[in-house]
Symmetry: C2
Subunit: 170 residues, 2 copies
DNA sequence: TCGGGAAGGTTGAGACTTCAATCATCACTC
DNA sequence: GAGTGATGATTGAAGTCTCAACCTTCCCGA
């Protein structure tokens, strides 16, 4: 059951053996990599991978600041999740909130110097971890292929149509 | 910072532009797909994706039962996480625990009829969701490539050596 | 300009995960 | 057969995420 291989009239198209293998491999790889990087960063930077990603986005943004919804969108998460995360990072002194002059509802998340420093200190170790787990194991063709595939999947999950169920609009 | 493109003496090999794009695409796709399937299953089956996966493993196992550590290993998660999860699924009546006769420390997680029924009822919708998000969007070559790549990554993250930091041995 | 819906963001409760500590049993050795 | 370390599994607390409810401000048409 689940992804079984069967065949009958009005039944859904179950995954065949190869598809099941591919899907299992996907689940295994993503689960393990997620766990691996979360652990690496928790140990070396004191925060989970997704939080680290937030700091990276802020560091790359003009003025090292981003509107909350924009940051949520770039990170593919909900605004609620982001609110909680920023609250935690603020407590650490790595991010600070600033009001938006042009829209009084708006808030900026701003990377502090301390936040930048954490990034500066831990980025080398993290990029190494990513290389070891991913890039170092794949041929250039596989890297290219992976990029294309992941872009297709990501695109498919964020349709342009109005009313789409996107995390940052939830 | 984070995956910046720089060059100097003893600095780590930062990700180049294409690598950064690939990595971003990977993060976006996995985050969105995880969210998407979690939501689909929470809505239709009343449990998160990983819990659903546990039921699927049990359904496929002989006697519809698996030792805790074995189930954790197949699911790539920690035993602690599994303990909590099984406790919840037990409360739902979808899984029951049984002692292991040959090793009094051991426990079996056993899929109940009610658990099997949930699977029977929700599997079609789930496999459809997976197809729509993943397989339907990829060419056969891309599917093959994805499977190979993910197997490489998964393999790389579970080294055979003793002392490896594997979730289910934590 | 008033009213109502949409957009930006936060909050608290409950659900889930992590981490370290714990307990019981097993396997091995002397 | 007693001691010791390893294995199988659980627990509770703290951290994180989801969901729904909420508040404020903006937008826009009547």
């Amino acid at each position: 059951m689940g992804y079984m291989n069967r065949a009958s009239a009005d039944e859904p198209r179950w995954l065949n053996d190869e598809e099941q293998r591919t899907w299992q491999a996907y689940l295994h790889a993503t689960t393990l990599l997620d766990d691996h990087l979360d652990r690496q960063l928790q140990r070396d930077a004191g925060m989970p991978h997704i939080y680290y990603g937030l700091l990276v986005k802020l560091a790359a943004a003009p003025q090292r600041r981003l509107r909350m919804t924009e940051l949520a969108m770039e990170s593919k998460i909900t605004r609620s999740r982001l609110s909680h995360a920023i609250a935690r990072l603020e407590k650490n002194g790595w991010v600070r909130r600033e009001e938006c002059p042009s829209d009084k509802r708006g808030q900026f998340a701003v990377l502090t110097d301390a936040g930048y420093e954490v990034l500066r200190r831990t980025a080398p170790g993290h990029v190494t971890a990513v290389r070891q787990a991913l890039f170092d194991r794949l041929t250039p063709e596989q890297q290219k292929s992976l990029g294309e595939i992941m872009e297709i999947i990501a695109e498919g999950l964020q349709p342009k149509e109005a009313g789409a169920d996107l995390p940052w609009l939830r």
